[in-house]
Protein backbone atom coordinates (compact mmCIF):
# COMPACT_ATOMS: atom_id res chain seq x y z
CA UNK A 1 0.00 0.00 0.00
CA UNK A 2 1.14 3.52 -0.63
CA UNK A 3 2.13 5.41 2.54
CA UNK A 4 -0.63 7.98 2.02
CA UNK A 5 -3.24 5.22 1.92
CA UNK A 6 -1.90 3.74 5.14
CA UNK A 7 -1.86 7.15 6.78
CA UNK A 8 -5.45 7.72 5.77
CA UNK A 9 -6.35 4.30 7.13
CA UNK A 10 -4.70 5.18 10.40
CA UNK A 11 -6.62 8.42 10.72
CA UNK A 12 -9.95 7.16 9.52
CA UNK A 13 -9.70 3.42 10.12
CA UNK A 14 -11.80 3.79 13.23
CA UNK A 15 -14.66 5.25 11.16
CA UNK A 16 -14.45 2.23 8.89
CA UNK A 17 -14.52 -0.03 11.93
CA UNK A 18 -17.64 1.70 13.26
CA UNK A 19 -19.25 1.54 9.82
CA UNK A 20 -18.49 -2.16 9.51
CA UNK A 21 -19.98 -2.91 12.93
CA UNK A 22 -23.14 -0.93 12.20
CA UNK A 23 -23.45 -2.67 8.83
CA UNK A 24 -23.04 -6.09 10.44
CA UNK A 25 -25.69 -5.52 13.10
CA UNK A 26 -28.03 -3.85 10.61
CA UNK A 27 -27.92 -6.96 8.42
CA UNK A 28 -28.21 -9.37 11.35
CA UNK A 29 -31.02 -7.50 13.10
CA UNK A 30 -33.93 -5.67 11.46
CA UNK A 31 -34.59 -3.78 14.71
CA UNK A 32 -31.04 -2.41 14.68
CA UNK A 33 -31.82 -0.48 11.47
CA UNK A 34 -34.39 1.73 13.17
CA UNK A 35 -33.73 5.34 14.18
CA UNK A 36 -34.82 4.33 17.72
CA UNK A 37 -31.88 1.97 17.91
CA UNK A 38 -29.40 4.62 16.72
CA UNK A 39 -30.73 7.10 19.27
CA UNK A 40 -30.55 4.44 21.97
CA UNK A 41 -26.85 3.92 21.25
CA UNK A 42 -26.25 7.67 21.59
CA UNK A 43 -28.19 7.71 24.86
CA UNK A 44 -26.31 4.71 26.24
CA UNK A 45 -22.87 6.11 25.39
CA UNK A 46 -23.65 9.62 26.65
CA UNK A 47 -22.30 9.15 30.20
CA UNK A 48 -19.12 7.31 29.23
CA UNK A 49 -18.70 9.53 26.16
CA UNK A 50 -18.77 12.73 28.22
CA UNK A 51 -16.32 11.28 30.76
CA UNK A 52 -14.11 10.16 27.85
CA UNK A 53 -13.94 13.75 26.55
CA UNK A 54 -12.33 14.86 29.81
CA UNK A 55 -10.21 11.73 29.85
CA UNK A 56 -8.86 12.59 26.38
CA UNK A 57 -7.58 15.93 27.69
CA UNK A 58 -5.72 14.24 30.56
CA UNK A 59 -4.34 11.53 28.26
CA UNK A 60 -3.16 14.17 25.77
CA UNK A 61 -0.94 15.61 28.52
CA UNK A 62 0.47 12.11 29.15
CA UNK A 63 -1.71 11.88 32.26
CA UNK A 64 -4.71 9.81 33.26
CA UNK A 65 -7.74 10.22 35.54
CA UNK A 66 -8.70 7.01 37.31
CA UNK A 67 -10.93 8.77 39.84
CA UNK A 68 -13.80 9.53 37.41
CA UNK A 69 -16.11 6.70 38.52
CA UNK A 70 -15.79 7.48 42.23
CA UNK A 71 -16.14 11.21 41.63
CA UNK A 72 -19.29 10.49 39.62
CA UNK A 73 -20.76 8.68 42.63
CA UNK A 74 -19.98 11.64 44.94
CA UNK A 75 -21.40 14.23 42.53
CA UNK A 76 -24.46 12.10 41.79
CA UNK A 77 -25.13 11.50 45.48
CA UNK A 78 -25.27 15.20 46.36
CA UNK A 79 -27.33 15.94 43.28
CA UNK A 80 -29.75 13.26 44.50
CA UNK A 81 -29.90 14.76 47.99
CA UNK A 82 -31.34 17.99 46.60
CA UNK A 83 -33.38 16.37 43.82
CA UNK A 84 -35.29 14.53 46.54
CA UNK A 85 -36.21 17.68 48.46
CA UNK A 86 -39.22 19.84 47.61
CA UNK A 87 -38.69 21.57 44.27
CA UNK A 88 -37.98 25.08 45.52
CA UNK A 89 -35.81 27.26 43.27
CA UNK A 90 -32.79 26.76 45.53
CA UNK A 91 -33.14 22.98 45.66
CA UNK A 92 -33.65 22.71 41.90
CA UNK A 93 -30.60 24.87 41.26
CA UNK A 94 -28.51 22.80 43.67
CA UNK A 95 -29.70 19.50 42.18
CA UNK A 96 -28.49 20.62 38.75
CA UNK A 97 -25.42 22.70 39.63
CA UNK A 98 -23.97 20.98 42.68
CA UNK A 99 -22.80 17.87 40.78
CA UNK A 100 -20.91 20.09 38.35
CA UNK A 101 -19.38 22.10 41.20
CA UNK A 102 -18.35 18.89 42.98
CA UNK A 103 -16.85 17.57 39.75
CA UNK A 104 -14.82 20.77 39.36
CA UNK A 105 -13.70 20.57 42.99
CA UNK A 106 -12.73 16.89 42.80
CA UNK A 107 -10.87 17.51 39.55
CA UNK A 108 -9.11 20.56 41.02
CA UNK A 109 -7.93 18.49 43.99
CA UNK A 110 -6.44 15.90 41.59
CA UNK A 111 -4.92 18.68 39.53
CA UNK A 112 -3.27 20.52 42.42
CA UNK A 113 -1.50 17.39 43.64
CA UNK A 114 -0.43 16.33 40.15
CA UNK A 115 0.67 19.75 38.90
CA UNK A 116 2.35 21.26 41.91
CA UNK A 117 3.18 18.39 44.26
CA UNK A 118 4.54 16.58 41.22
CA UNK A 119 3.04 13.19 42.07
CA UNK A 120 2.39 10.79 39.18
CA UNK A 121 -1.22 11.14 37.89
CA UNK A 122 -1.70 7.37 37.96
CA UNK A 123 -0.88 7.30 41.69
CA UNK A 124 -2.82 10.45 42.58
CA UNK A 125 -6.03 9.45 40.83
CA UNK A 126 -5.72 5.85 42.02
CA UNK A 127 -5.62 7.35 45.51
CA UNK A 128 -8.62 9.60 44.93
CA UNK A 129 -10.47 6.71 43.25
CA UNK A 130 -10.35 4.96 46.64
CA UNK A 131 -10.76 8.09 48.75
CA UNK A 132 -13.76 9.55 46.87
CA UNK A 133 -15.47 6.14 46.95
CA UNK A 134 -14.76 5.78 50.65
CA UNK A 135 -16.19 9.23 51.28
CA UNK A 136 -19.46 8.62 49.46
CA UNK A 137 -20.00 5.18 51.04
CA UNK A 138 -19.30 6.72 54.46
CA UNK A 139 -21.70 9.57 53.71
CA UNK A 140 -24.57 7.33 52.69
CA UNK A 141 -24.54 3.68 51.73
CA UNK A 142 -28.23 3.34 50.87
CA UNK A 143 -29.59 4.70 47.60
CA UNK A 144 -31.49 7.99 47.47
CA UNK A 145 -34.69 7.55 45.49
CA UNK A 146 -38.11 9.14 45.18
CA UNK A 147 -36.48 12.01 43.32
CA UNK A 148 -38.80 14.84 42.24
CA UNK A 149 -40.39 14.31 38.79
CA UNK A 150 -38.82 17.47 37.30
CA UNK A 151 -35.39 15.87 37.76
CA UNK A 152 -36.18 13.34 35.00
CA UNK A 153 -35.83 16.07 32.36
CA UNK A 154 -32.04 15.80 31.93
CA UNK A 155 -31.58 12.04 31.76
CA UNK A 156 -34.91 10.84 30.39
CA UNK A 157 -36.10 13.88 28.46
CA UNK A 158 -36.04 14.27 24.68
CA UNK A 159 -36.01 17.14 22.20
CA UNK A 160 -38.25 15.73 19.48
CA UNK A 161 -37.01 12.17 19.19
CA UNK A 162 -33.47 12.96 20.36
CA UNK A 163 -32.56 12.16 23.99
CA UNK A 164 -31.27 15.17 25.93
CA UNK A 165 -28.13 13.27 27.09
CA UNK A 166 -27.21 12.68 23.43
CA UNK A 167 -27.55 16.41 22.71
CA UNK A 168 -25.36 17.27 25.72
CA UNK A 169 -22.75 14.73 24.59
CA UNK A 170 -22.60 16.10 21.05
CA UNK A 171 -22.51 19.72 22.25
CA UNK A 172 -19.67 19.04 24.68
CA UNK A 173 -17.76 17.07 22.06
CA UNK A 174 -18.20 19.97 19.65
CA UNK A 175 -16.84 22.52 22.11
CA UNK A 176 -13.93 20.25 23.04
CA UNK A 177 -13.14 19.76 19.34
CA UNK A 178 -13.03 23.50 18.73
CA UNK A 179 -10.89 24.08 21.82
CA UNK A 180 -8.35 21.42 20.86
CA UNK A 181 -8.14 22.36 17.19
CA UNK A 182 -8.63 26.10 17.03
CA UNK A 183 -7.38 27.64 20.26
CA UNK A 184 -3.96 28.34 21.70
CA UNK A 185 -4.99 26.42 24.82
CA UNK A 186 -5.65 23.34 22.69
CA UNK A 187 -2.26 23.54 21.00
CA UNK A 188 -0.58 23.88 24.42
CA UNK A 189 -2.37 20.71 25.63
CA UNK A 190 -0.79 18.76 22.76
CA UNK A 191 2.65 20.29 23.29
CA UNK A 192 2.65 19.66 27.06
CA UNK A 193 1.92 16.00 26.46
CA UNK A 194 4.00 15.46 23.34
CA UNK A 195 7.10 17.42 24.28
CA UNK A 196 7.15 18.89 27.79
CA UNK A 197 10.71 20.21 27.38
CA UNK A 198 9.73 22.18 24.32
CA UNK A 199 6.65 23.40 26.16
CA UNK A 200 8.77 24.72 29.03
CA UNK A 201 11.25 26.29 26.62
CA UNK A 202 8.38 28.01 24.84
CA UNK A 203 7.33 29.56 28.14
CA UNK A 204 4.18 27.50 28.61
CA UNK A 205 3.17 27.20 32.27
CA UNK A 206 3.24 23.38 32.30
CA UNK A 207 1.92 22.86 35.86
CA UNK A 208 -1.00 25.22 35.18
CA UNK A 209 -1.80 23.36 31.96
CA UNK A 210 -1.71 20.03 33.80
CA UNK A 211 -3.93 21.39 36.57
CA UNK A 212 -6.44 22.64 34.01
CA UNK A 213 -6.97 19.29 32.29
CA UNK A 214 -7.93 17.60 35.57
CA UNK A 215 -10.38 20.40 36.31
CA UNK A 216 -11.84 19.83 32.82
CA UNK A 217 -12.05 16.10 33.48
CA UNK A 218 -13.83 16.81 36.77
CA UNK A 219 -16.27 19.13 34.99
CA UNK A 220 -17.12 16.39 32.47
CA UNK A 221 -17.62 13.92 35.35
CA UNK A 222 -19.99 16.38 37.06
CA UNK A 223 -22.16 16.70 33.95
CA UNK A 224 -22.07 12.92 33.44
CA UNK A 225 -23.08 12.41 37.09
CA UNK A 226 -26.13 14.61 36.61
CA UNK A 227 -27.19 12.67 33.51
CA UNK A 228 -26.50 9.30 35.13
CA UNK A 229 -28.47 10.09 38.30
CA UNK A 230 -31.35 11.61 36.39
CA UNK A 231 -31.47 8.63 34.02
CA UNK A 232 -31.72 6.18 36.91
CA UNK A 233 -33.79 8.54 39.10
CA UNK A 234 -31.71 7.30 42.01
CA UNK A 235 -28.31 8.14 43.51
CA UNK A 236 -26.12 5.31 44.73
CA UNK A 237 -22.79 5.15 46.52
CA UNK A 238 -21.73 2.25 44.28
CA UNK A 239 -22.42 4.11 41.00
CA UNK A 240 -19.69 4.47 38.42
CA UNK A 241 -17.49 1.53 39.37
CA UNK A 242 -15.29 0.67 36.40
CA UNK A 243 -16.27 3.77 34.40
CA UNK A 244 -12.62 4.87 34.33
CA UNK A 245 -11.67 1.81 32.28
CA UNK A 246 -14.56 2.28 29.87
CA UNK A 247 -13.63 5.94 29.32
CA UNK A 248 -9.95 5.11 28.84
CA UNK A 249 -10.94 2.33 26.44
CA UNK A 250 -13.01 4.78 24.36
CA UNK A 251 -10.04 7.17 24.08
CA UNK A 252 -7.53 4.42 23.36
CA UNK A 253 -9.70 2.66 20.78
CA UNK A 254 -10.00 6.13 19.26
CA UNK A 255 -6.23 6.16 18.83
CA UNK A 256 -5.17 8.36 21.75
CA UNK A 257 -1.63 7.59 22.90
CA UNK A 258 -1.19 6.96 26.62
CA UNK A 259 2.25 8.58 26.24
CA UNK A 260 0.59 11.89 25.47
CA UNK A 261 0.49 14.37 22.62
CA UNK A 262 -1.65 12.32 20.28
CA UNK A 263 -5.42 11.86 20.17
CA UNK A 264 -8.59 13.42 18.80
CA UNK A 265 -11.94 14.20 20.38
CA UNK A 266 -13.81 13.00 17.29
CA UNK A 267 -12.00 9.67 17.45
CA UNK A 268 -12.68 9.32 21.17
CA UNK A 269 -16.40 9.79 20.51
CA UNK A 270 -16.23 7.23 17.72
CA UNK A 271 -14.36 4.94 20.12
CA UNK A 272 -17.21 5.34 22.63
CA UNK A 273 -19.76 4.72 19.85
CA UNK A 274 -17.98 1.51 18.85
CA UNK A 275 -18.31 0.27 22.43
CA UNK A 276 -21.96 1.39 22.52
CA UNK A 277 -22.84 -0.24 19.19
CA UNK A 278 -21.14 -3.45 20.31
CA UNK A 279 -23.00 -3.50 23.63
CA UNK A 280 -26.38 -2.71 22.12
CA UNK A 281 -25.97 -5.04 19.15
CA UNK A 282 -24.63 -7.95 21.17
CA UNK A 283 -27.37 -7.64 23.81
CA UNK A 284 -30.04 -7.40 21.09
CA UNK A 285 -28.60 -10.55 19.51
CA UNK A 286 -28.69 -12.06 23.02
CA UNK A 287 -25.01 -12.95 22.94
CA UNK A 288 -23.93 -14.15 26.41
CA UNK A 289 -22.11 -11.54 28.49
CA UNK A 290 -18.81 -13.45 28.80
CA UNK A 291 -18.55 -13.55 25.00
CA UNK A 292 -19.41 -9.84 24.82
CA UNK A 293 -16.51 -9.15 27.19
CA UNK A 294 -14.14 -11.20 25.06
CA UNK A 295 -15.20 -9.41 21.87
CA UNK A 296 -14.72 -5.99 23.47
CA UNK A 297 -11.32 -7.01 24.85
CA UNK A 298 -10.14 -8.26 21.48
CA UNK A 299 -11.30 -5.05 19.78
CA UNK A 300 -9.41 -2.84 22.26
CA UNK A 301 -6.17 -4.79 21.81
CA UNK A 302 -6.53 -4.96 18.02
CA UNK A 303 -7.14 -1.22 17.77
CA UNK A 304 -4.07 -0.33 19.81
CA UNK A 305 -1.87 -2.95 18.16
CA UNK A 306 -2.86 -1.81 14.67
CA UNK A 307 -2.12 1.76 15.65
CA UNK A 308 1.30 0.81 17.03
CA UNK A 309 2.20 -1.17 13.89
CA UNK A 310 1.29 1.73 11.64
CA UNK A 311 3.28 4.12 13.77
CA UNK A 312 6.37 1.89 13.86
CA UNK A 313 6.43 1.90 10.09
CA UNK A 314 6.68 5.63 10.31
CA UNK A 315 3.32 6.57 8.88
Amino acid sequence: MRPSVVATLRDYGIYLALGALVAYFAIALPQFRTPDSALLVLLQVSVIGIIAIGMTFTILTAGIDLSVGSLLAVAGMFSGVFAQKDPSAVNVALAFLLPVAIGLLGGALNGVIIAWAGVNPLIVTLGTLTAYRGFVVWYRVNPIYDLQPYYRAVGQGTAGPVPIPAIILLAMAGVAWVVLNYTRYGRYVYVVGGNPEAARAAGIDVPLMKFSVYVLSGFCVGVAALIFTSRLMAAQAISGQGFELQAIAAAVVGGASLFGGRGKITNTIVGALIMGVLFNGLVMLNVPAPIQQMVIGVIIITAVWLDAVLRQRGY
Partner: protein, 320 residues
Protein backbone atom coordinates in the same frame (compact mmCIF):
# COMPACT_ATOMS: atom_id res chain seq x y z
CA UNK B 1 -36.15 -17.62 110.80
CA UNK B 2 -35.74 -13.99 109.84
CA UNK B 3 -32.02 -14.30 110.29
CA UNK B 4 -31.89 -17.28 107.97
CA UNK B 5 -33.90 -15.43 105.33
CA UNK B 6 -31.70 -12.36 105.70
CA UNK B 7 -28.60 -14.51 105.29
CA UNK B 8 -30.03 -16.18 102.21
CA UNK B 9 -30.89 -12.82 100.68
CA UNK B 10 -27.43 -11.48 101.53
CA UNK B 11 -25.82 -14.54 99.95
CA UNK B 12 -27.94 -14.16 96.85
CA UNK B 13 -27.04 -10.51 96.53
CA UNK B 14 -23.39 -11.36 97.01
CA UNK B 15 -23.55 -14.04 94.38
CA UNK B 16 -25.27 -11.75 91.90
CA UNK B 17 -22.74 -9.05 92.72
CA UNK B 18 -19.86 -11.45 92.21
CA UNK B 19 -21.22 -12.73 88.91
CA UNK B 20 -21.85 -9.17 87.78
CA UNK B 21 -18.32 -8.18 88.76
CA UNK B 22 -16.87 -11.20 86.99
CA UNK B 23 -18.82 -10.38 83.81
CA UNK B 24 -17.66 -6.79 83.99
CA UNK B 25 -14.06 -7.80 84.56
CA UNK B 26 -14.05 -10.32 81.69
CA UNK B 27 -16.31 -9.03 78.96
CA UNK B 28 -16.39 -10.92 75.71
CA UNK B 29 -15.00 -9.36 72.59
CA UNK B 30 -16.31 -10.59 69.24
CA UNK B 31 -14.60 -10.04 65.92
CA UNK B 32 -17.00 -9.33 63.04
CA UNK B 33 -15.80 -9.63 59.45
CA UNK B 34 -18.04 -8.27 56.68
CA UNK B 35 -17.82 -9.00 52.97
CA UNK B 36 -18.18 -5.44 51.61
CA UNK B 37 -19.85 -2.62 53.50
CA UNK B 38 -20.35 -0.54 50.35
CA UNK B 39 -23.40 -2.70 49.59
CA UNK B 40 -26.61 -1.54 51.26
CA UNK B 41 -27.52 -5.11 52.20
CA UNK B 42 -24.21 -5.65 54.01
CA UNK B 43 -24.53 -2.24 55.67
CA UNK B 44 -27.94 -3.41 56.91
CA UNK B 45 -26.32 -6.59 58.24
CA UNK B 46 -23.83 -4.41 60.07
CA UNK B 47 -26.57 -2.31 61.62
CA UNK B 48 -28.32 -5.42 62.91
CA UNK B 49 -25.03 -6.87 64.21
CA UNK B 50 -24.20 -3.65 66.03
CA UNK B 51 -27.63 -3.61 67.64
CA UNK B 52 -27.10 -7.19 68.84
CA UNK B 53 -23.64 -6.32 70.26
CA UNK B 54 -25.22 -3.49 72.19
CA UNK B 55 -28.15 -5.56 73.43
CA UNK B 56 -25.83 -8.31 74.66
CA UNK B 57 -23.29 -5.84 76.10
CA UNK B 58 -20.37 -7.42 74.25
CA UNK B 59 -17.54 -5.49 72.64
CA UNK B 60 -17.43 -5.97 68.85
CA UNK B 61 -14.45 -5.27 66.60
CA UNK B 62 -15.54 -4.85 62.99
CA UNK B 63 -13.64 -5.17 59.72
CA UNK B 64 -14.51 -4.84 56.04
CA UNK B 65 -12.96 -7.24 53.51
CA UNK B 66 -13.87 -5.01 50.51
CA UNK B 67 -14.67 -8.27 48.70
CA UNK B 68 -10.98 -9.17 48.81
CA UNK B 69 -10.13 -12.48 50.50
CA UNK B 70 -6.53 -11.47 51.14
CA UNK B 71 -7.66 -8.35 52.96
CA UNK B 72 -10.23 -10.48 54.74
CA UNK B 73 -7.52 -12.83 56.05
CA UNK B 74 -5.34 -9.92 57.24
CA UNK B 75 -8.35 -8.40 59.03
CA UNK B 76 -9.16 -11.69 60.72
CA UNK B 77 -5.52 -12.27 61.75
CA UNK B 78 -5.41 -8.80 63.26
CA UNK B 79 -8.64 -9.40 65.23
CA UNK B 80 -7.31 -12.77 66.43
CA UNK B 81 -4.12 -11.05 67.58
CA UNK B 82 -6.30 -8.69 69.61
CA UNK B 83 -7.69 -11.69 71.43
CA UNK B 84 -11.30 -11.93 70.27
CA UNK B 85 -13.35 -14.66 71.98
CA UNK B 86 -15.38 -15.52 68.89
CA UNK B 87 -15.39 -14.64 65.21
CA UNK B 88 -18.64 -13.73 63.47
CA UNK B 89 -17.73 -14.19 59.83
CA UNK B 90 -19.45 -13.19 56.59
CA UNK B 91 -17.37 -14.93 53.93
CA UNK B 92 -16.41 -13.02 50.79
CA UNK B 93 -15.86 -16.22 48.83
CA UNK B 94 -16.92 -19.86 48.96
CA UNK B 95 -13.40 -21.31 48.75
CA UNK B 96 -10.81 -18.62 49.36
CA UNK B 97 -12.40 -17.40 52.60
CA UNK B 98 -11.67 -20.74 54.25
CA UNK B 99 -8.18 -19.43 55.04
CA UNK B 100 -9.68 -16.98 57.56
CA UNK B 101 -11.68 -19.73 59.26
CA UNK B 102 -8.61 -21.98 59.42
CA UNK B 103 -6.63 -19.10 60.99
CA UNK B 104 -9.25 -18.81 63.73
CA UNK B 105 -9.28 -22.61 64.21
CA UNK B 106 -5.50 -22.57 64.80
CA UNK B 107 -5.96 -20.03 67.60
CA UNK B 108 -8.84 -22.05 69.05
CA UNK B 109 -11.30 -19.20 68.46
CA UNK B 110 -14.82 -20.40 67.58
CA UNK B 111 -16.30 -19.19 64.27
CA UNK B 112 -19.95 -18.41 63.51
CA UNK B 113 -20.65 -17.82 59.83
CA UNK B 114 -23.48 -15.56 58.74
CA UNK B 115 -25.02 -14.63 55.35
CA UNK B 116 -22.06 -15.71 53.18
CA UNK B 117 -20.68 -19.18 53.84
CA UNK B 118 -17.21 -20.57 53.16
CA UNK B 119 -16.87 -24.32 52.95
CA UNK B 120 -13.52 -24.97 54.64
CA UNK B 121 -12.27 -25.15 58.23
CA UNK B 122 -14.39 -25.74 61.32
CA UNK B 123 -17.28 -23.55 62.33
CA UNK B 124 -19.89 -23.70 65.07
CA UNK B 125 -22.95 -22.74 63.07
CA UNK B 126 -24.09 -20.89 59.96
CA UNK B 127 -26.83 -18.30 60.33
CA UNK B 128 -28.19 -17.39 56.94
CA UNK B 129 -30.42 -18.33 54.06
CA UNK B 130 -30.25 -21.03 51.42
CA UNK B 131 -29.69 -18.98 48.25
CA UNK B 132 -31.41 -21.45 45.89
CA UNK B 133 -34.54 -20.80 47.96
CA UNK B 134 -34.60 -17.15 46.83
CA UNK B 135 -34.65 -18.31 43.21
CA UNK B 136 -37.34 -20.84 44.10
CA UNK B 137 -39.49 -18.00 45.47
CA UNK B 138 -39.11 -16.19 42.12
CA UNK B 139 -40.25 -19.46 40.56
CA UNK B 140 -43.30 -19.54 42.83
CA UNK B 141 -44.18 -16.03 41.70
CA UNK B 142 -43.69 -16.91 38.01
CA UNK B 143 -45.87 -20.00 38.36
CA UNK B 144 -48.56 -17.80 39.87
CA UNK B 145 -48.18 -15.30 37.02
CA UNK B 146 -48.52 -18.13 34.50
CA UNK B 147 -51.85 -19.12 35.98
CA UNK B 148 -53.00 -15.53 36.35
CA UNK B 149 -52.26 -14.54 32.73
CA UNK B 150 -53.74 -17.75 31.30
CA UNK B 151 -51.51 -17.76 28.21
CA UNK B 152 -50.11 -21.04 26.84
CA UNK B 153 -46.59 -19.58 26.69
CA UNK B 154 -44.88 -16.80 28.63
CA UNK B 155 -41.69 -15.11 27.55
CA UNK B 156 -39.56 -12.92 29.72
CA UNK B 157 -36.22 -11.31 30.44
CA UNK B 158 -34.04 -12.74 33.19
CA UNK B 159 -31.41 -10.30 34.48
CA UNK B 160 -28.61 -12.34 35.98
CA UNK B 161 -25.94 -11.06 38.39
CA UNK B 162 -22.25 -11.70 37.84
CA UNK B 163 -21.34 -14.62 35.59
CA UNK B 164 -20.01 -17.55 37.61
CA UNK B 165 -20.71 -15.94 40.98
CA UNK B 166 -22.05 -18.34 43.59
CA UNK B 167 -25.28 -16.52 44.56
CA UNK B 168 -26.18 -15.94 40.93
CA UNK B 169 -25.79 -19.63 40.12
CA UNK B 170 -27.78 -20.64 43.22
CA UNK B 171 -30.67 -18.30 42.40
CA UNK B 172 -30.75 -19.49 38.79
CA UNK B 173 -30.81 -23.14 39.91
CA UNK B 174 -33.54 -22.43 42.45
CA UNK B 175 -35.71 -20.68 39.87
CA UNK B 176 -35.31 -23.29 37.13
CA UNK B 177 -35.76 -26.24 39.50
CA UNK B 178 -38.95 -24.74 40.86
CA UNK B 179 -40.34 -24.26 37.34
CA UNK B 180 -39.31 -27.82 36.49
CA UNK B 181 -41.19 -29.09 39.55
CA UNK B 182 -44.25 -27.16 38.36
CA UNK B 183 -43.85 -28.58 34.82
CA UNK B 184 -43.49 -25.07 33.44
CA UNK B 185 -39.94 -25.13 32.06
CA UNK B 186 -41.13 -25.55 28.47
CA UNK B 187 -43.95 -23.03 28.90
CA UNK B 188 -41.87 -20.14 30.19
CA UNK B 189 -38.94 -18.95 28.08
CA UNK B 190 -36.19 -16.57 29.16
CA UNK B 191 -33.91 -14.12 27.40
CA UNK B 192 -31.01 -14.11 29.85
CA UNK B 193 -28.41 -11.38 30.17
CA UNK B 194 -25.92 -10.60 32.92
CA UNK B 195 -26.14 -7.11 34.39
CA UNK B 196 -23.61 -7.53 37.23
CA UNK B 197 -26.19 -6.80 39.99
CA UNK B 198 -25.83 -3.17 38.84
CA UNK B 199 -28.75 -0.79 38.42
CA UNK B 200 -27.30 1.18 35.50
CA UNK B 201 -26.38 -2.00 33.65
CA UNK B 202 -29.83 -3.45 34.37
CA UNK B 203 -31.30 -0.33 32.79
CA UNK B 204 -29.08 -0.43 29.67
CA UNK B 205 -29.59 -4.15 29.05
CA UNK B 206 -33.37 -3.78 29.41
CA UNK B 207 -33.38 -0.77 27.06
CA UNK B 208 -31.61 -2.74 24.36
CA UNK B 209 -33.81 -5.84 24.74
CA UNK B 210 -37.06 -3.87 24.81
CA UNK B 211 -36.00 -1.79 21.80
CA UNK B 212 -35.74 -5.03 19.90
CA UNK B 213 -38.99 -6.52 21.20
CA UNK B 214 -41.59 -5.05 23.55
CA UNK B 215 -43.78 -8.14 23.77
CA UNK B 216 -42.24 -9.66 26.90
CA UNK B 217 -44.64 -10.81 29.60
CA UNK B 218 -42.26 -10.40 32.52
CA UNK B 219 -38.83 -9.37 33.73
CA UNK B 220 -37.20 -11.10 36.70
CA UNK B 221 -33.84 -10.19 38.20
CA UNK B 222 -31.43 -11.80 40.64
CA UNK B 223 -31.44 -8.64 42.75
CA UNK B 224 -33.58 -5.56 43.34
CA UNK B 225 -31.05 -3.08 41.94
CA UNK B 226 -31.27 -4.59 38.46
CA UNK B 227 -35.07 -4.78 38.51
CA UNK B 228 -35.24 -1.15 39.70
CA UNK B 229 -33.05 -0.17 36.72
CA UNK B 230 -35.39 -2.14 34.44
CA UNK B 231 -38.36 -0.41 36.08
CA UNK B 232 -37.10 2.99 34.85
CA UNK B 233 -37.15 1.61 31.30
CA UNK B 234 -40.63 0.11 31.73
CA UNK B 235 -41.83 3.54 32.90
CA UNK B 236 -40.24 5.31 29.93
CA UNK B 237 -41.56 2.76 27.44
CA UNK B 238 -45.00 2.93 29.13
CA UNK B 239 -45.01 -0.79 29.84
CA UNK B 240 -45.99 -0.66 33.53
CA UNK B 241 -48.77 -3.19 34.04
CA UNK B 242 -47.99 -4.89 30.72
CA UNK B 243 -44.62 -6.29 31.71
CA UNK B 244 -44.70 -7.92 35.16
CA UNK B 245 -41.57 -7.50 37.23
CA UNK B 246 -39.93 -9.13 40.24
CA UNK B 247 -36.54 -8.98 42.00
CA UNK B 248 -34.75 -10.30 45.07
CA UNK B 249 -33.64 -8.51 48.32
CA UNK B 250 -36.56 -6.48 49.63
CA UNK B 251 -34.87 -3.07 49.51
CA UNK B 252 -37.13 -0.28 50.83
CA UNK B 253 -37.26 1.16 47.31
CA UNK B 254 -38.54 -2.14 45.90
CA UNK B 255 -41.16 -2.36 48.65
CA UNK B 256 -42.28 1.20 47.83
CA UNK B 257 -42.57 0.27 44.15
CA UNK B 258 -44.70 -2.75 45.10
CA UNK B 259 -46.98 -0.54 47.16
CA UNK B 260 -47.32 1.81 44.18
CA UNK B 261 -48.21 -1.18 42.00
CA UNK B 262 -45.25 -0.70 39.64
CA UNK B 263 -43.27 -3.72 40.76
CA UNK B 264 -45.10 -7.02 41.21
CA UNK B 265 -42.88 -8.80 43.71
CA UNK B 266 -39.55 -9.15 45.44
CA UNK B 267 -38.05 -11.89 47.59
CA UNK B 268 -37.25 -10.62 51.06
CA UNK B 269 -33.99 -11.66 52.62
CA UNK B 270 -33.74 -10.72 56.26
CA UNK B 271 -30.59 -8.75 57.21
CA UNK B 272 -31.78 -8.39 60.78
CA UNK B 273 -32.00 -12.14 61.29
CA UNK B 274 -28.70 -12.81 59.54
CA UNK B 275 -26.56 -9.97 60.95
CA UNK B 276 -27.96 -10.21 64.47
CA UNK B 277 -27.78 -14.00 64.23
CA UNK B 278 -24.00 -13.95 63.77
CA UNK B 279 -23.57 -12.15 67.10
CA UNK B 280 -26.24 -14.18 68.90
CA UNK B 281 -24.63 -17.38 67.61
CA UNK B 282 -21.29 -16.37 69.18
CA UNK B 283 -22.99 -15.39 72.43
CA UNK B 284 -24.99 -18.58 72.80
CA UNK B 285 -22.02 -20.78 71.89
CA UNK B 286 -19.76 -19.14 74.49
CA UNK B 287 -22.60 -19.44 77.00
CA UNK B 288 -22.50 -23.20 76.48
CA UNK B 289 -25.63 -23.61 74.35
CA UNK B 290 -25.36 -26.37 71.74
CA UNK B 291 -26.27 -24.92 68.36
CA UNK B 292 -27.36 -26.74 65.19
CA UNK B 293 -24.94 -26.68 62.22
CA UNK B 294 -27.29 -24.48 60.20
CA UNK B 295 -29.71 -21.87 61.47
CA UNK B 296 -31.70 -21.05 58.38
CA UNK B 297 -33.68 -17.89 57.90
CA UNK B 298 -36.26 -18.41 55.14
CA UNK B 299 -36.72 -16.10 52.17
CA UNK B 300 -40.19 -14.69 51.83
CA UNK B 301 -42.06 -13.74 48.68
CA UNK B 302 -43.37 -10.18 48.96
CA UNK B 303 -46.32 -9.04 46.85
CA UNK B 304 -48.83 -6.25 47.18
CA UNK B 305 -50.90 -8.50 49.46
CA UNK B 306 -48.28 -8.76 52.22
CA UNK B 307 -45.86 -5.89 51.52
CA UNK B 308 -46.91 -3.92 54.60
CA UNK B 309 -45.52 -6.70 56.83
CA UNK B 310 -42.01 -6.02 55.54
CA UNK B 311 -41.88 -2.24 55.31
CA UNK B 312 -41.21 -1.79 59.03
CA UNK B 313 -38.23 -4.21 59.06
CA UNK B 314 -36.77 -2.65 55.90
CA UNK B 315 -37.11 0.89 57.24
CA UNK B 316 -35.43 -0.20 60.48
CA UNK B 317 -32.35 -1.79 58.93
CA UNK B 318 -31.82 0.25 55.76
CA UNK B 319 -31.11 3.69 57.13
CA UNK B 320 -28.48 6.05 55.72
Amino acid sequence: MHKVLALAIALMLLTIGAVGAAAAAQPWTFGVSYQNLAFPYVAALQKAAQAACKALAVKCLETDAFNDTEKELKNVESMLAQGVNCLAFEAASLKASSASIVAANKKGVPVVQFNGKADGGQWVTFVGSEQPDSGAQLGVWLAGLYKQLGKPQLKGIYLRGVAGQITDLARNDGLKNRLKAENLLDKISFTEQYADYDRGKGQSVTESLLTRDKSYDFIVANNDDMILGALQVARQFKLIGKVHMAGVDGLPEALDAIQKGELDATVFQDPEGQGGGGIWGCYLHLSGVKLPKDILIPFKLVTKANVSDFVAIAKRVYVK
